[in-house]
Structures are given as C-alpha cells and as structure tokens.
Point group: C2
Chain length 327, copies 2
C-alpha cells in the first residue's frame, strides 16, 4: 500500500518533505498546496501539481492519506492544523511549547469530530527530544533532565538581529557550553543558569558607515533574546555570509541523570548533529505520517503526539523484520 | 490504582527490581518467588513474602498485575516466560538476540491464548538500544547504524575466563574504541571490523605458582570470546579485585548517520553510562511493567516488545501532564 502524501506550505519544511519522499518507498507525493498563487511556485518533483490550499477545503475531498502541514508555528499552525484536520489526517511540527495544550485541544476536537488522526509537534524539538525527556523521566525516576541546543542556527534570533538599524544581514548561532555539558555527563546533576548552559554568536553584515559598537550593544542587551546570554558579535562581508553561513545546521543534547534506588548513578544522553534542521525535521515528519496513516486505518481518530505512537508504526518494516533486525 | 508486582527469580535483576519499586510510587511489591528453597532467601523489603515459584502455577491465581521474570536468558527464560505468561501478565529481559523470533512465538501463544500481555526483551540491550536502532532506521532511512558496548563488565566473558586453569577470579571489561566512535560521529559511515570497534581488558587473580603467560595466551586466543579482539590481561590480587572490580558497570552507544535526500548529513547518537547494569535494567523493566498492566487493562493480549509500546504508557503521568512538561 502506498501512502499518499500532500504537502501544505512550501517553505523549508515543505521542500524538505518533498525531497524526503524519495527516501521512503512506501510514500507518494500527490500534491503541493500553497496559500500563495500556485503559478508562482516551481517545485522539484516532476509531474506533481502545485495547487491552491483552498482546493483542500472546497469541493470534493482529495485522495490524500496524510497532509503534512508545513506552515510556521507562530501564526500559521494554530489556525491551519485544526482547519485541515477536520477534513484530512494531518501532521504538523508545531513548536511553541507553551501553547501546546491549547493547540492539542483545538486539533483534537476538529480531528476527533471528523474521524481523522492528527499528530502535532513532530520533529526533533518538539519531537525526538520530547521522547527522550519522557523516557529519561520514566527510566531514571529520581533524576534531573537537561536539554542543550546547538551548535545551530536559530532563525528567530537571526530575524530579531536583522531588524536592528544598520544591519543588512545576520545569522545567529546557539552554542551549548562544553563545560556545562561535561558537568552533566559526570552525573553530578548541577544547577545551571541560562548563561551557564548556552552562548550565542552572531554574524552581522553592517551597512556602510553604520555604528558597529551601537549594533553590538543593541544585540547583546536585547531583552528575551540576548540579555541573559554571553553573546559574541562578528562583523563580516555579505560574501562571507553567503559563503559560510547559508546552511541551517542545528542539533543538541538531551540528558537525564540520577541515582537508582541502590545509589548507582545512570546517565542517558541523546544527541543530534544535523547539517540541515529542516531536512531532518521533514524526515521525522514523514515517519510519523506513516504512523498517522496506519492509526487511522485501524479506526483511530483525534489528536496524538509522539508520546502516543508505538515505535513500530514508524517503520515500513513488519514486526518479524523489526524483531529480527533491530531488537 | 496501584500496580501489584511479583518478582520471579532473585538474582541481580530480581534485587534491582525490588529496590526500584521504591522509586515508582504507583507500584507495590506483593511477593518474591524463587525456584530455590524460599527459606534460604532474605530479601530487602520488610513484610513481603518470599514464596516458591510453584505457588504461581499451582492452586488459585495470585493477585499480581505483572510478574517480572528475572531468570537468566540462556536457559531459564525460554522455558519460564511462556510458562508463566499462560497465567499472568509478564515481562522479561531476554537477551539472546538470535533466539528472539522463537521466544516471541512461544510467548505470544501462551499469553494470547490466556488473555495476558507479555513483554519480552525489556532492558537496555535489547531494549532502549533496540528502540534507537529502529528510530535511526526510520528517521535516517538511507544511512548506517552502529552499536558500541562499554565501557562495562561482560559477565559471560568473565565467566569464560574463570574456567581457565589457574584462574581464581576474573573480570572482563569491554571497551569501545574511541577512534572508531569518533569516525562514526563524523558522519563518514566507516566500515569497521570487530577488532576496530572494541577492545577487551581482563583482570585476573591467578593461583599461586600458576603460569601467567599460559593463562594470558589461553585468554587472548579463546575462540568466539577473545580471538577477534585486541585483549589486554592484568594480573591483580584478590584484594584489588574486591576493592576495584566488584561493581557491574556497563553502557554503550547507538549511532545512526546518513545523508538526507538533499545530501545534508544527520547523526543521531544515544548513549548510556551505567554504574550498575542490573539496577538500570530493572528500572527500565518496571516502566515497561507499567505499560503491560495498562495494555492488559485495555483488553490487549499476546506478546509485545518495546517496539509495540507507545511511550506514554511507560509514564505514571497523564497525557496533559506529559504534553505540558516534556513535549
Ligand atoms: N519540531 C521541530 O523540531 C521543528 C524543527 C524545525 C522547524 N519547526 C517549525 O516548523 C515551522 C516551519 O518551518 P520552515 O523553516 O518551513 O518555515 P518557512 O520556511 O518560513 O515556511 C513557512 C511557510 O511560509 C510560507 N511562505 C510564504 N512565503 C514564502 C516564501 N517566499 N518562501 C517560502 N515559504 C513562504 C509557506 O507557506 P505557503 O506555501 O502556503 O505560502 C511556508 O509553509 C517553523 O515555524 C518551526 O516552528 C519545528
Ligand atoms: N536486556 C538487557 O538489557 C539485560 C541487561 C542485563 C541482564 N539481562 C538478562 O537478564 C538475565 C538475568 O540477569 P541477572 O544478572 O539477574 O542474572 P543472575 O544474577 O545470574 O540471576 C539469574 C537467576 O539465577 C537464580 N539463582 C540461582 N542461584 C542463585 C544465587 N545464589 N544468587 C542469585 N541468583 C541465583 C535466580 O533465580 P531463583 O531465585 O529462582 O533461583 C535468578 O533469577 C541475564 O541472563 C541477562 O541475559 C538483560
């Protein structure tokens, strides 16, 4: 059985999902849907139509097993995921942690009332990092959990820097502090402040004649974004920016450590090193899309997260194969 | 609801499970069952009976939600798990990878025919390492997976060494080769031979007057155990053995690396550093015992592995709590 995938929203994740389908033989791309004028988009896959997002909602229901919704978390997904979950099985990568309960409730109602399965917040964080936070809590019940991000590009921080006067282009990297990571790995369960866990590094292309000291000051003191971190600012040329900083690498570490009842210490560490954050996120989304299709085929409905999916549902292989090759 | 746990077999894992119950407030130990004469065992928990394993099979069914079977994998579990799964929900930590399909089939029949849930091969390998091998395959479909073990004590290799003439006591450590690990972490997907992945280190207490060169030769050339590895042998005193090598530390690494369809490399690394292999294994078993109790309460029956359990079932917390704290 081939799983028919629709992609809604053609940004970084949308393009990532499109290309990842080539690595999942049981999947087929049936359409890319956009809120922009479809005629303005050229996609990578030959023979697959680009259509208006409205086509998903108006007229007859399309033959799509799972719709991968690739809108932005800030404003797109809270509105889009419930809307489309009322008509299709869907998956999103919603990452505004604080608003998850509200998003879950809205999506659950829309999907549940209409017999669809919707899986929210699939990706690496939220997603695989969440799984490891949960696992850590279960296997080391009396312990402490830590999440470190990076080294990687934070798009929100890059955008915020770009809005400063005199900044033509900017790229922000979040870096875990190696010393803090090593302390956690030692099993000592340290208390760490925000400043002790991560540093930030910003590469800036400044306009000619711009006041670099003033730009630096505005960056490092920016509330919520930089003021609680040690931040280093580098001024570079646009050529250097384009040459050295055009990727979207990311990753990080989830650790859990604590003592068993006997007193023996256990440390669990999970880490990701991703050359492309969106490409890996899309690949994770497709595995969870496979699970969504199966859960719905079993008659399930409503909202799910990565916590609700048995690992076997993610794989194209059957139980016998999984037990003999991976167990 | 309290989950009533019975422990069958009181060795390292049995003792670990007993003590781990103190860290799981929703669980209660109702009995320790042994194949030895119960009067010869003194357990750590006050007020809990030590009974004969026969009591589980004869007479009325006991009030136990999940029986944690802590026998040895080589000969105990293939016989014990199906036998007890016919009467109780059970969990084991069967680790003979090659015999998993056969064990699964036997246990599935016994549990399924009698309305029980049995989960086999829970622990860290098989168990959490298996999960990460499966996840890696799903999220990086075109890549390569690696498992490294150690640093840690291998009981089978320690036992084999002890059987050599002139050896009074021995402890074998398996060590991952740091250079190989680093190569894998780089994303280069190297081909590694057995010798390149692990080394072995053996601490031996020799009988007075024993031929140490002969002992060393017998160890390093032992077929299946040591001949494919670079092995270092150290002779120490019994005092040193007791002082420095009485623990059962273990751990290891599961890595997966490969290119996304775009060409961007992703590397996933999972690692465990355990002061006590059995204590951590028992803690994992209890979390899966919680899942077994719940699955059976939902009306499920038959054999399961870690691949079949949605992560939320492992946690004492409800969905709302999990989503707001761990997602
Ligand atoms: N859970 C995780 O681990 C994880 C990881 C990475 C990202 N995320 C989340 O995923 C969300 C989407 O990430 P993204 O990197 O794909 O965002 P993006 O590239 O900004 O795309 C978001 C949407 O913007 C629209 N868009 C409008 N004009 C565009 C243009 N000129 N070029 C490209 N897109 C345009 C697209 O929808 P239309 O085609 O309909 O216009 C697209 O779906 C983020 O908000 C983030 O929260 C989660
Ligand atoms: N999946 C994983 O990650 C993982 C990790 C660690 C271990 N394991 C597996 O778990 C199995 C059990 O490990 P273990 O370390 O608990 O083995 P163990 O200490 O040798 O105990 C095995 C059984 O031996 C019996 N026994 C007989 N005489 C004993 C004595 N004097 N002292 C203690 N026990 C005695 C006990 O049953 P009675 O009380 O009925 O006599 C006990 O249940 C191993 O075979 C291994 O395959 C799996």
């Amino acid at each position: 059985m081939t799983i028919k995938i629709g992609i809604l929203g053609y940004g970084n994740l949308g393009r990532g999902a499109e290309s990842a389908i080539a690595q999942n033989e049981d999947m087929e791309l049936v359409g890319v849907f956009t809120r922009r004028d479809p005629s303005t988009l050229t996609i990578a896959t030959q023979g697959v139509p680009v259509r208006s997002a409205n086509d998903l909602l108006e007229g007859e229901k399309l033959d799509i097993d799972v719709l991968v919704i690739c809108g932005g978390s800030a404003t797109d997904l809270p509105e889009m995921t419930p809307k489309y979950a009322a008509r299709y099985n869907v998956i999103d990568s919603f990452d505004t942690h604080a608003r998850v309960p509200e998003h879950f409730a809205n999506v659950d109602k829309a999907a549940g009332n209409n017999g669809n399965v919707a899986l929210i917040s699939a990706g690496w964080d939220p997603g695989l990092f969440s799984l490891n936070r949960l696992f850590g809590n279960c296997f080391i019940p009396q312990g402490k959990g830590y999440t470190f991000w990076g080294p990687g590009v934070s798009q929100g921080h890059s955008d915020a820097t770009r809005r400063i006067d005199g900044v033509l282009d900017a790229r922000q990297y979040t870096l875990p502090v190696e010393k803090a990571l090593d302390e956690v790995r030692s099993g000592s369960n340290p208390e760490l402040t925000t400043r002790q866990k991560h540093t930030r590094e910003v590469f800036v292309v400044a306009a000619e004649g711009a006041d670099r000291d003033e730009i630096t000051k505005q960056i490092v003191t920016m509330p919520n974004y930089f003021d609680e971190y040690d931040t280093t600012v580098h001024f570079i040329s646009q050529e250097e920016m384009d040459r050295d900083h055009s990727g979207l690498p990311h990753g990080g570490f989830v650790l859990r450590s604590g003592a068993m009842a006997s007193g023996a210490t256990s440390v669990i560490e999970y880490s990701l090193k991703l050359d492309s954050n969106p490409d890996f996120t899309s690949s994770v989304q497709l595995a969870y899309a496979r699970a969504v299709a199966r859960l719905n085929a079993e008659g399930q409905k409503g909202c799910r997260t990565v916590f609700d999916v048995a690992p076997a549902y993610l794989s194209p292989f059957d139980g016998d194969y999984l037990r003999s090759h991976f167990l």
